[in-house]
Structures are given as C-alpha cells and as structure tokens.
Subunit: 352 residues, 2 copies
C-alpha cells in the first residue's frame, strides 16, 4: 500500500534518493564496494563531502561570501552547547527567543556560559505564536532563535534586525524557502527533516566571526577545528552525509529554493484552507505565525476522533498524531511530501 | 570482480548485513516505509535500539552487572572530552598510556581538566610497541588506554591492575576477542571498525561510577543524560545503529566472541607467518605486541614495490597502503574479513 508519511522527523525523503542510497549500501558508484565500508579519505567519499558542502552554499546563495558548510555530529542539541562556547565572551551576554521546547533547551545550555536575556517568549500561550515585541541590548554577543517550531507549528516570517550576530536553529525548515541567508552569521540544523537521515548536523558559519571570544574551547566543540579539516577532523557520518548530498542535488535539480518554496506554500495552503473552512477542525497556532512545515490542528468535536483516526489509518497515512505538548494532530509536510498525499488527508477531513 | 577490502576504517562489514541494510533503506521490516524516514520513537525503531543495546551487553558478558550501553555521536574524539568531564574531579588526576596518535589526542584533551600523568609512552620508537613498565599513583581518578593502535599495529594483550577506574578506547578491536570486560569501568568505541558504519559511538559504562566528580557537565556531554533517556535524549543516528545491531546479531549467530577470537587468531597467524618467513617482508611492530586487527609490514627490498603494488591491485585488494606515520603496508583484518581474502594476499607475497 502507498504510505503517506507525515512524520515530524526523521521524516519523508524523496523516493529516488532512498533508491540510490539503498544501492550505494551494496555497491557504491560501481566500485564493487559499499559506501559504508570504504575509507572516508578515499577519493570517492571526499567527492561526496565536497559536493554536499558545495550544494549547501549554492542552494543558500552563500557561495563566495565567507561561509563554511560543516557536517558534524550530535544533532542540534550539541549545537546548543557549541554556539555559546564559540560565540559568547567570558561574562558575555546572549539574547534568546523562547518560542518552544527546543528554544528553551538551547537557552538553558547557554546559561552555563554567561548571561542569557530571554528577549521574548510565547510560553504564556503554550508557544502557539511568535512574539513580535522585543529589545536587544547593545552589548549582546549574539541573538539566537528557532526559525520553525516543529512541535507547536509556528514559524518566524521575519527576523530581528540587530548589530549582534544572528544565530538560527533552522532544523525543521532549512531549504524550504527563500531567505537572505547572508543576514545570518551561524545557521545550524539537524539533517533529519529536509536534508537527510538522522546522524548529521549541518552548520553554516561565517568564518570571520570565530576565534574572537577568548575562550579555551575543547577541540571537538571548536568550529575552527572542523573548518580547518574540511569537516574531516575525525571520521564523519558517511551515510547521512551521502543521503544529504543526494537530497540537496534532488532539490537543486527541481529548481532550488525558488521552486520548493512555491510547492511548500501550495501544500500548506491546501491543508490550512481545509482546517479553516471545515467546522470540525481548528488550527493550533496563531494564523500569521503558522508553519509551512508542521501543520498543527485539533478536532472541534472529539466524538469524531475514532472515525477520523480510522479513516486516515485506512488511507495509509502515518505519523500524524500530535505531539503530547499540543495534542490533536500534526501533519509535517516537508519538502519531499507530495501534494497528492496532502490531498488524501484533506479529502478525509472533508468527508468526515 | 570480488574485492578484498583491507581498509582500516570505515571498513569491511558482513555481506549479509550490507544486503539487509540496503533493503531497509527502501522498505524496513515490510512496513512500506524506509528505516530512515520513520520516527526514532516508533515501536519499530525503539525495538532496534533495545536489541542493539542488549546484544552489546550480551556479547561482552556484562548483562546484569550494572552497565549501560549507549549509542552516541561524535566518534571516539568526542569521548576524549566526555571521559575527563565525567570522571576527573576538579583538580583531579588521570593516568594515560601514550601508545599512538589517538592516545596522544585523548590525553591532550584531558589536560584541560586537570593533571594528566603520562605513565608510559612508546613514542620513542614511533609507537611500535606497548610499554610494560609503569606506576600508577594512588590518587589517580582513572587510567586511560587505547587497546589497539590502528595506525601502528600494536595491541594490549594484558591490562593494568589498579584501584583507579579503568577506561579504554576499544575503537579498533572491540568484539574481536574475549576479555573480562567487567574489569573495565568505561569502554568506548567508534562503530566504524567491527560494529557498523561511521556515525555511532558505543559507550559501555558502569552506572555507579558516574555523578561523583562534582563538575557541572553540559547536558549532551553528561553520560547520565543519555542513560536516563535510554540513548534517546535526542534523535539518535538511526541508520548506523541499525547496521550495528545487524552486525552484532551476525556475530552472536556465529558463536560470539569465543568463535570470532579463534577466527581472528587464525587469520592473523596466516599473515604474520608469511611476513616472518618471507625475506622480502618484515613486520613494523614488536612481535609480542602485534595487533590481530591491523597488520603493519614493510618491504625489505623497495625495488619490489612496483611489482607488489601491481599484483595486489590486479587481485582486487584495496585499502592496504600503510598510514603515512609508518609507511609500508597495513592489512586491516577485522571480524568481517574472510580468511580467503588474506590467503589471496599471502599468495601474492609468496610469489613475489
């Protein structure tokens, strides 16, 4: 049966990418060896790493602008620690937007390094909106925010203007829309949404901001270590990087962020329109802050729950139960999700 | 052509494991979804993680002995940092054996945390032996060593007796031989030798040794974080863990460490006997300290180099060039390497 995979992450990837990745596990590039049993220093894998890094900077329009693209390990959670280690001065200060569970974890980690100004928070309403009023003080080392809040289904549409460094966790919406990425000084993202399988973390950093905070940084937590070794200081996560490279190439071939943004807007509108027009459903997030990646919604009539759940299960839909922090449903409609799968869901909602 | 993969790591894995892993990338357990696009919290993946952890403790004969098995990220290089963070007291002291490049990196990282006693070193002879004379002082928090030195082809056959905690980097020989693993308090290993693909790090730790050094440990670097969440504090590296589980099951099915140790000894003897009996070759490491995983050797007559290189390349051998620190050749003969491949190499050496 055709499955419609609405998982929040790890999540759907392009079918052609999965097929190529599967082949590479037994015979990579017709070298009669598996991708996962060759040296990461072999010309074959070095070419994969180079291509993946090039595609990142190309898709984000950051080529030749002084940025490095790194494929690290540890997920966004390790970045919560690496960011203050690399960017906060001793007794320094950072500004954090508290817009969800992951933002809160990020700022908690930074508090061990200096002063954390929580410049805005939407915790008062269970993180169902993006706060718009904030002041960033002049002596701030960097401003940190989470561009898309996977659990709550909210997304920053505009980003703060400030003289401080701009740091963004884009784990769940990177490569989904056009932005002026050169306004950011450091972007990080776990691979397992729009990029690839779990086990790689993308860091895109402006080289010139590093090495300035006078901290003694452990080798593996220092971005400069990884830049100086071209993301090969130690053995990188070979398979996740390869699949990320394939996915980025798939994205480039379809027209890059211009093309995918249009598709993503159309997909999100299809589902949000049904939520807004169907009296049986309501959205969980404030309308103007709705995420185009994670659509959170609730039944207005809980007596319909058993019927709704049965129908989407029968249709081959999976991964649509809401996170326990919000309840209801969450349809994650990342880049690789075809609009046809969303139509299947919408049709079920219509006929409920 | 049949390839004989002598790579030092990432390295050869069992063919049947590669086949199953390849299938799982398109359709995992016949659920019509890829392993890499389902939630790590799905029952299907939780079963993989549970099984992998169980197999580790089972194979090491550590079940019910107070140990946890964790699958983390960052490679052994991140463990170089996590070990002192979790085990060295403020102003504490650790003893390190300096037996190769990786040992030296490990002790360098620990020096940021307190006093590091280099209790023994074989650096004087380009790390070609395992030092046997050492004294460990009574106030040592832990003793650290690298059981197998991949680059130099040396291996500890016995381990120091001490009241301090015993910490061992077993990246390149774990699961290759029987040992009394309960003598160790913490074992770590990058997956990419005898366990699976790059991107997962195994940590086996005795629970009771943790939480005692009075340091404020960053969340992601604290072993207790990962124990409390059963290695799922954040999204784990799903594919590397799955392949590790398959490889460990393959090992268990063939008879575990008893069976593999016998095979590994026979394989190593076949190759070392040829090195010792053939006047054209000599071993690079001291005989009594030779590794059964990485066999380092040199030509005695460099004029034969072109002919030898041509012959092994024609035979489908790959990954056999020595590391630049030693020169010559290095045949890595990990668990999954069949003795038939070693025979191919030995026959070429014989007929040179």
């Amino acid at each position: 049966m055709k499955k419609h995979n609405f998982s929040a992450g790890p999540c759907i990837l392009p079918q052609e990418v999965l097929k190529k990745a599967s082949e590479a596990v037994v015979n990579f590039n017709n070298i009669d060896l598996s991708l996962i049993e060759i040296s990461h220093r072999s010309p074959e894998f070095v070419a994969v790493m180079d291509k993946a890094q090039e595609l990142v900077l190309d898709l984000l329009n950051l080529k030749g602008k002084g940025y490095s693209a790194l494929f690290l390990q540890g997920g966004a959670s390790l970045e919560f620690l690496m960011v203050p280690y690399n960017l906060m001065r001793e007794n320094g200060k950072a500004a954090y937007f508290d817009t969800g569970t992951w933002s809160a974890k990020a700022l908690k980690e930074a508090q061990a390094f200096g002063t954390v100004d929580i410049v805005a928070s939407s915790k008062d309403k269970n993180y169902n909106y993006i706060p718009k009023d904030f002041t960033i003080s002049a002596d701030t080392d960097y401003v940190h925010f989470t561009s898309n809040n996977t659990i709550y289904g909210t997304q920053f549409k505009e980003f703060p203007k400030t003289d401080a460094l701009l740091v963004c966790d884009m784990s769940s919406d990177i490569f989904s829309r056009k932005l002026d990425f050169s306004k950011f000084d450091l972007i990080y993202a776990g691979a397992q949404k729009n990029m690839g399988p779990a086990g790689a973390t993308l860091v895109v950093v402006k080289d010139e901001i590093l090495g300035k905070n006078n901290r003694k940084i452990p080798t593996m937590l220092n971005y400069q270590t990884h830049i100086s070794k071209d993301s090969m200081f130690n053995t990188p996560p070979v398979f996740p990087i390869y699949v990320s490279m394939l996915t980025l190439q798939w994205l480039k071939d379809m027209g890059g962020l211009d093309a995918i943004e249009k598709k993503n807007i159309a997909k999100a509108e299809l589902l949000y329109n049904e939520i807004d027009n169907n009296p049986l459903f309501k959205g969980a997030a404030a309308k103007e802050d709705r995420s185009n990646m994670n659509v959170t919604f609730l039944l207005t009539d809980e007596s319909k729950k058993a019927e709704f759940d049965q129908k989407w299960k029968e249709a081959g839909i999976s991964g649509i139960n809401g996170h326990r922090s919000v309840g209801g449903y969450r349809a994650s409609i990342y880049n690789a999700m075809p609009i046809e799968s969303i139509q299947v869901l919408v049709d079920i909602m219509k006929n409920l």
